[in-house]
Symmetry: none
Subunit: 184 residues, 2 copies
Amino acid sequence: MDEGMSGFCIRNGSVRGSSGTKCGRWNPTTEQVKVLTELFSSGLRTPSTDQIQKISTQLSFYGKIESKNVFYWFQNHKARERQKRRRRVSSSDDDDDNDSNKDVIRRTNVMSVNSSTQNFAQVYKVSEPKRVIETLELFPLNSYGEPESKNLRVYANERRDNMFSYTMREQMDHPPLDLCLSFM
Amino acid sequence: MDEGMSGFCIRNGSVRGSSGTKCGRWNPTTEQVKVLTELFSSGLRTPSTDQIQKISTQLSFYGKIESKNVFYWFQNHKARERQKRRRRVSSSDDDDDNDSNKDVIRRTNVMSVNSSTQNFAQVYKVSEPKRVIETLELFPLNSYGEPESKNLRVYANERRDNMFSYTMREQMDHPPLDLCLSFM
DNA sequence: GGCATATGAATGAAGG
DNA sequence: CCTTCATTCATATGCC
């Protein structure tokens, strides 16, 4: 409804090219897609608002991007993967569309954190002033068997592999930007 | 979960999409969306069951609709408006935006409505929070995206014939408030 | 140039 | 209210 036809791009007279600055809808750069894809394959499927923000901020280095783009990207990517599986499977093979692990990343943790991690708007629930600072729990990745991570103040290099210590060395020619996607 | 599908592929009258009017889920007509949007921008956020019922009844004139559709519409609209707000806080850039409900009338397919000008006896519970209602501004008939001459606020008397006159006369037991909705 | 596919964006419907 | 899933719409892009 609002934007109607996704045309927020008020065509400033310099677009419509065929490269880069297209207006209208987000056009991810190769690097952005790459990072997003890696995050996804690491198990991140439904990033929290916080994560979205961080990812977005990091990716903005490669080009214009907004939080919602990240949000949609994950939504779509997940949905399509499932859809594909759904379509092609149905063979009732062993492959039973095990998507139940969708919450593999979140669930269990994110929600319980308070402090700055309010989800979209936990504001109304101004009840507990409990701990203020805590550290967000890292997402469990492929194992939830880490319930004891009380001291989750883990950082990039210390993590298993669900975290990208992106230090683009290769094709990088931009500022540091070590993308430590340990967000959350 | 008992509603089942209620799917009715209805009329193509002025359904938004351009493609096949899929059935299965409610596909609001532009008029319905318009009214809902106006109600929302007037301050209505969480209509009571009673209001939902009435709104639904009135909107059924424009096409199939059920109470639950109205209910969901408000829930979603409100939630998304909020999310949009939240998300908007990142993106370093000064992404100026029409955060206001610029509500574009998607297709403006102002079909000729057999305007029966029903009396939209709507119970606008002038409850606590907002009370911004007075008269809804008319919309630019069949033009969209064009500059709204600040002053084209037309009122009831000027309405053509597809306008609802919110005049709660019947079950009214609250302040005046005549909501003049102009449809297309 | 249209048609086919990929994918960004939107939103109805639930679940919790 | 908050989060998520399923569908669908709208474009961009690639192929012929």
